[in-house]
């Protein structure tokens, strides 16, 4: 990603080193949130998350980690408005979430690109469905700028099936950023991407986020990914998910430039989070329900 060009259109010009919730203007406020799914056929209600209280501030990068099935995705879906809270509340910018809105955008693990649309048309999709009050010229310009940002210039007219996994997710990221949302939600966006490309994309995402002060809620299974990207790491316990601990990561940014993986603090944080999730991860691995 070419960050220098990218943040031209953004309002906040940020210092390069930023860590922690320094703006302290709350963007997402979740209070005692309990949410889950109705299984109609079995006549059961499955509680995915219980009693989640979490405040995410503007410009903060919050990472959720926890074993499979702990309800991380449900939390992101509650923020995006795809699922409704059973108990408690969730607010975005001071208003309770009633459904999806242009202030929130999401990146999906399986990319979720429309296979019948070209790269360009996929990235333009949010503009077709949301009324943002932009002129045609502004929209064209933005689409072009974000295609350039994710380095897909020249691939505008390619179809997703012609692209590699990493390139597909670049399309997914551009589609999420094109409407310049307040909050970027990412559900294991790099999980299906090979290790080398993943590292490169992590570093690009971090640069972009550091420069634009984008608020991000990011799900991952990888503790390394959590510590290299997050300002705070929220460790969630196994079903029904509760917050086990919130770990502050005070490492300098951009982390890839500082090579934080060499720092002793990095190893300590990594170790600490691993100890938090270890028992439950092992339990999940054994298939305990």
């Amino acid at each position: 990603m070419r960050v220098a060009e990218a943040d031209v259109g953004r309002t906040a010009a940020a210092p390069t080193i930023a860590a922690g919730p320094q703006d302290s203007a709350p963007v997402i406020v979740s209070k005692n949130l309990t949410v889950g799914y109705e299984l109609h056929r079995e006549r059961q209600r499955l509680t995915a998350l219980r009693d989640i209280s979490l405040t995410v501030n503007r410009g903060e990068f919050v990472v959720l980690v926890g074993p499979s099935g702990c309800g991380k995705t449900t939390f992101i879906n509650a923020i995006s408005g795809l699922v409704k809270p059973w108990e408690g509340s969730i607010e975005v910018n001071g208003r309770p979430v009633t459904g999806p809105g242009p202030d929130r955008a999401m990146v999906f693990q399986d990319y979720a690109l429309m296979p019948w649309r070209t790269v360009e048309s996929n990235i333009r999709m949010p503009f077709e469905m949301q009324k943002l009050g932009l002129s045609q010229k502004e929209m064209d310009e933005r689409v072009r700028r974000y295609i350039d940002l994710v380095d897909l210039t020249g691939f505008e007219n390619s179809f997703p099936y012609e692209l590699s996994g990493g390139m597909k997710q670049r399309v997914g990221i551009a589609r999420a950023l094109v409407s310049e949302p307040d909050i970027l939600l990412a559900d294991e966006p790099f999980a299906a991407i090979d290790a080398m490309t993943r590292e490169a994309m992590q570093s690009e995402l971090e640069r972009f986020v550091t420069n634009t002060r984008q608020t991000v809620v990011f799900i991952t299974h990888s503790i390394d990914e959590a510590v290299t990207l997050g300002d705070r790491v929220v460790v969630i316990s196994y079903r029904p998910g509760r917050i086990k601990e919130i770990v502050n990561v005070n490492l300098p940014r951009p982390r890839f430039d500082y090579d934080v993986k060499m720092l002793p603090e990095y190893g300590e944080l990594r170790d600490h989070i691993w100890r938090l999730v270890k028992d439950e991860a092992l339990q999940t691995a054994r298939g305990a329900k």
Binding site: G81, P100, A112, M114, P115, F159, P160
Partner: protein, 285 residues
């Protein structure tokens, strides 16, 4: 990530065609042509050897001759029954097109509604499954009783044969629309209507085309059955009459023509599918 430096050598270099590559690419065509030529030559020799009566197996050349004269001549105006293959072919194809058109007109909306609405699905699905599993040939006497030996009866049978694969495929397309695509569209602000027009319909389109493809096969069976049972025109009738008059060359000619027609129609829908849904082309026969 960085764009390629101009000094680097071009990554795509044209290479000469080797014999092996040529064979790899066009070899299957040669094999098919040779294969079919051998097939017809062996047939010809076997039929001429006298091992089997020409009544059951005429030489391949007689079949092609009957096909050629049948396709190039029309019967004189005013004749009661045409002996020309062409007249019967056009009659059958006309009925088939009309039947397929009606089957699409009924089947596509019905399938989409069943996929989109749980109540419509619950109400209609027992009828769809019952009629889809019933051998349609069993209904022919009923429709002859109702409608007589008419074009209406024949078209009704074609529609009934072709409509169910179309309904079932459209229905399945809507039901199997990927959840993550729907979630993505919702997150990016799609209204309920847009979910259908911008996700479900494009996703279902290739399913509908497969349905039509199956419908063509079934419809062709319907045409022939309807004409064999009750009619005085069409390829089915011509087969029946050729058999009655011991004109085996004509009968084989019509059978051969049916294979050609059926393969052509199915290939057309395949091209259509590849054009409309190129992402589904992987792993195809």
């Amino acid at each position: 990530m960085a764009t390629m430096a101009p000094s680097e050598p071009a990554r795509i270099v044209k290479t000469e065609w080797s014999m092996r590559e040529f064979w790899k690419r066009y070899g299957s065509w040669f094999v098919t042509v040779a294969n079919l030529t051998i097939f017809f030559v062996v047939w010809e020799l076997f039929a001429r050897s006298g091992a089997i009566s020409p009544l059951f197996l005429p030489p391949a050349s007689s079949m092609f001759e009957a096909l050629w004269t049948g396709l190039t001549t029309t019967s004189p105006p005013g004749s009661v029954i045409s002996g020309s293959i062409r007249d019967h072919l056009f009659y059958s194809l006309g009925n088939l097109s009309l039947g397929l058109f009606l089957a699409c007109l009924i089947g596509i909306p019905a399938g989409l509604l069943m996929g989109g609405n749980r109540y419509i699905e619950t109400v209609l699905s027992p009828y769809v499954w019952a009629l889809a599993s019933l051998p349609r040939i069993a209904l022919v006497p009923l429709f002859i009783l109702f409608l007589g030996f008419t074009v209406k009866m024949q078209v009704t049978i074609i529609v009934l044969s072709a409509v169910f694969p179309i309904i079932i495929n459209a229905w399945a397309g809507v039901k199997t629309t990927e959840k993550s695509l729907l979630a993505a569209a919702k997150v990016f602000g799609a209204s309920r209507r847009e979910l259908y027009t911008k996700v479900v319909l494009p996703y279902t389109l290739p399913f509908i085309i497969s349905g039509v493809q199956q419908g063509i096969g079934r419809g062709l069976i319907g045409v022939i059955i309807a004409e064999i049972f009750g009619g005085s025109k069409g390829l089915g009738y011509l087969i029946q009459r050729a058999a009655d008059t011991f004109n085996s060359a004509l009968m084989y000619a019509v059978l051969f023509l049916l294979v050609v027609v059926s393969l052509t129609l199915i290939q057309l829908t395949r091209w259509l599918e590849a054009y409309v849904a190129p992402w589904r082309r992987i792993d195809r026969l």
